[in-house]
């Protein structure tokens, strides 16, 4: 066997393995879409069918009409976009402070900030709820959005890793040219950090888009609900409208998939460069 044939065999087996793995990962999504188009009786038939028969597009219509889907979608978009914007702004600013600016208490404060990653959400849930309640924020979107303006330790750490890869000389030259720190952050560091910012944006957006517990705890008016809670309305105490739930879930994940497809190249680059992959 010559080298060329060996390379071809390696390439084919490699692609075949990746394809097989892709299918494994895609199966739950395919099942979701398939179920969303099935009539209720077919969902749990004793012999599982991948292809709905008949195809019930009506499930989508019914799902959207059973709950105020459009309103919930707008609410979700609002919360997800504002959280993403706030996280990008605050985390990058804090990360710049730790990664680029040299100041006396930088290291101990960085460690304090990192320590917050180790506190489980369950521990802080009730104290945080009480704080928001005393601020009069419960029943509004504020508890879901405003904390994002105070940065998240994980994303600060991620962005710091990226900022540190920017040549120091570049920053020093900007300083010599008279740029303030904010100027350097805004005009130099942020434009150079696009891939890492895209990663943070994607993670924040999907987390806010899929968040169930936050809106459940803090929103007290069904008109303000997000999609993740709205979908629960298809589930009763001992049963569920699976066909409608799957149809609504399919619609709900489309924006996230589209976002990923559009950002894929930058996103992968960001993960690679920020060291997140390791």
């Amino acid at each position: 066997m010559n080298r060329r044939s060996a390379d071809a065999i390696v390439s084919v087996t490699g692609h075949a393995s990746l394809l097989a793995l892709s299918i494994v990962f895609a199966l739950p999504f395919a099942w979701l879409v398939s179920t969303s188009l099935k009539p209720p009786a077919q969902i749990f038939s004793s012999s599982p069918n991948w292809l709905p028969s008949p195809v019930c597009w009506q499930n989508y219509v019914e799902a959207v009409n059973t709950i105020p889907f459009i309103r919930y979608a707008w609410n979700t978009i609002f919360v997800a976009l504002t959280s993403t914007f706030a996280t990008l702004f605050s985390c990058s600013l804090v990360a710049y402070g730790f990664a680029v600016v040299r100041w006396r208490w930088s290291r101990p404060l960085f460690l304090v900030m990192l320590a917050t990653v180790m506190l489980p959400g369950q521990v802080t849930m009730i104290p945080v709820f009480i704080i928001f309640k005393n601020l009069g924020w419960v029943g509004s979107y504020r508890p879901l959005i405003i904390p994002a303006f105070f940065s998240t330790a994980f994303f600060v750490f991620l962005l710091m890793q990226f900022f540190r890869t920017i040549p120091r000389d570049l920053i020093d030259v900007a300083r010599i040219d008279g740029c303030s720190h904010f100027d350097i952050y805004w005009r130099l560091v942020l434009p150079l950090s696009r891939p890492a910012l895209m990663v943070v944006a994607f993670f924040t957006f999907t987390a806010a888009w899929n968040d169930f517990l936050g809106p459940l705890i803090y929103l007290n008016d069904d008109r303000m609900y997000t999609l993740s809670i709205g979908l629960q309305q298809f589930v009763s105490q001992h049963a569920a409208e699976w066909h409608l739930l799957m149809a609504a879930s399919t619609i709900m994940i489309v924006p996230v998939i589209l976002l990923f497809l559009f950002m894929q190249k930058t996103f992968v680059e960001g993960i690679h460069l920020s060291g997140l992959k390791a």
Binding site: K133, G139, R223, F234, S236
Partner: protein, 465 residues
């Protein structure tokens, strides 16, 4: 080297800074506007009526049905408007709201198991004064259901339905094991024998693992303990009662039966079983022959059972000296949180929604899925079938009772630990129970420093109809 003039920024930098400052100002302004908008709708158009907030955990068809009833109530009212909110059916939001002191005016998102805890913490108000001043009465309910609503001589809740637990069995499996499918086990000894006969191993070899389990003894500690005659809690002295010779006897029986099939092997088998709300339900697939269920399970069978599936039901068989026809009751309870600003309006709504006329429409409908709480509704023709008559007898049995103790989640966690430690052989029943009692009792002492509500009027202070 910089000249003195070079410290002055060039004109283009000044312009850049101006643009940057404008951009930052725009971002700040839009953020403030967004945050203001984030406060959401301030109120509803209610024509001057008092608006009360109501949290429900019912979703799906139940929510649809409830929504219609609330609309009807709102149309009939010129004083009150009920604004309902769906809070998902795990009731966690309610627990956090109570902990944070930010509750609705009325809610049905409290399990019967949690009522005692909320009552001890003075988080919900007694309904007795409201009941006394209204046309409603506890006499509309059987004694066990009345007791479910009460804690420490106060009524804290009402409900539309009431849930119970019993055992269902697969008739075909009984036939195959040479048992009479029309005669379920009548005694505990018979039950254990049936469970053995119904259990099958792969290749008929216990070492190859369980194929069909006659009955899963693991995970039913509360129901069985109640059947054995164990009481859990004395509210007057705030003492946990499970550390008794009777409980030791019960745990020894439990361990003997679990050991027959191997604890690890049984755990492994149970963790491999499918979802209850699906055709992979292990009872419907024949992997479990007898199971502990609630009355709502009939709906699961109707939805997912294979054609020709035959099933029967019976109450937990009691040991000598135990409680015959015993069951643990539970329900989604309508309660009024202490923080409610409109208690009278909240009560008016509870009185209306739990009244028989509404319960019939909410609970019974064309095909009842749950047992109604009110005796009058239980007599509805919709319940006139052998199955529902059985459920009705069970719910109203003198040995039907709810679990009423504070720190219920902690109690359950410790009880599950007792089960785990005893069945795995890590501790004897007595050791496990002594440890459980000590731990739970110290938690109770830590949380509840005041005397029990029976000796104080704090539980009903400020509650006037």
């Amino acid at each position: 080297m910089n000249s003195p003039n070079s410290t002055k920024p060039p004109r283009s930098t000044n312009l850049g800074l101006l643009h940057l400052n404008l951009l930052i100002a725009a971002i700040l302004i839009s953020t403030i506007v967004l945050i203001y908008w984030a406060s959401g709708p301030k109120s509803r158009t209610v024509d001057g009526r008092t608006e009360i907030s109501y949290w429900t955990g019912w979703g799906g068809r139940e929510l649809e049905s409830l929504r219609k009833l609330i609309d009807e109530y709102n149309r009939s009212q010129d004083h009150t408007f009920v604004r309902w909110t769906y809070v998902a059916n795990d009731y966690n939001k309610m627990r956090i709201a109570f902990a944070g002191g930010d509750t609705p005016d009325v809610c049905s998102t409290v399990w019967a198991d949690d009522v005692a805890d909320y009552a001890e913490r003075n988080a919900i108000v007694p309904l007795d004064p409201y009941l006394a001043a209204s046309t409603r009465s506890l006499d509309e309910y059987s004694t066990p259901v009345q007791e479910l609503y009460r804690y420490n001589n106060h009524t804290y809740a009402l409900s539309t339905g009431v849930g119970s637990f019993f055992i269902m069995y697969n008739k075909q499996a009984f036939r195959e094991a040479g048992l009479d499918p029309e005669r379920p086990p009548a005694t505990l000894a018979e039950f254990d024998l049936y469970a053995e006969k119904l259990t099958k191993y792969r290749n008929d070899n216990p070492r190859d693992g369980i194929q069909v389990l006659g009955f899963a003894y693991i995970g039913q500690i509360m129901s069985w303990a109640s059947v054995w005659g164990v009481d859990f809690w004395d509210p007057n002295t705030r003492t946990v009662l499970v550390d008794t010779p009777r409980m030791v006897e019960f745990l020894e029986w439990l361990k003997t039966n679990v050991d027959k099939y191997g604890y690890r092997s049984q755990r492994g088998f149970l963790s491999s079983l499918g979802n209850t709300v699906s055709p992979n339900n292990p009872f419907l697939t024949g992997q479990l022959t007898m199971i502990v269920v609630g009355e709502w399970y009939k709906k699961i069978i109707e939805m997912y059972a294979p054609p020709g599936f035959e099933w029967g039901y019976f109450a937990f068989p009691a040991p000598p000296g135990g409680r015959a026809n015993a069951t643990i009751l539970n329900a989604s309870m309508f309660t009024i949180p202490t923080a409610s600003r409109h208690k009278q309006e909240a009560w008016d709504f509870i009185a209306w929604i739990t009244a028989p006329a509404q319960t019939i429409r909410f609970r019974v409908g064309p095909l009842p899925g749950d047992m109604a709480a009110a005796s009058a509704v239980q007599s509805d023709p919709g319940y006139d079938t052998p199955y529902w008559r059985f459920v009705k007898d069970l719910v109203n049995s003198p040995n039907a009772r709810g679990i009423k103790l504070p720190l219920f989640n902690k109690f359950m966690y410790l009880m599950n630990q007792v089960e785990e430690r005893v069945l795995s052989g890590e501790a004897t029943p007595q050791q496990a129970l002594t440890h459980m009692r000590t731990t739970f009792q110290s938690s109770v002492a830590e949380v509840f420093r005041d005397p029990p509500p029976t000796t104080t009027t704090s539980g009903s202070q400020g509650v006037t109809p």
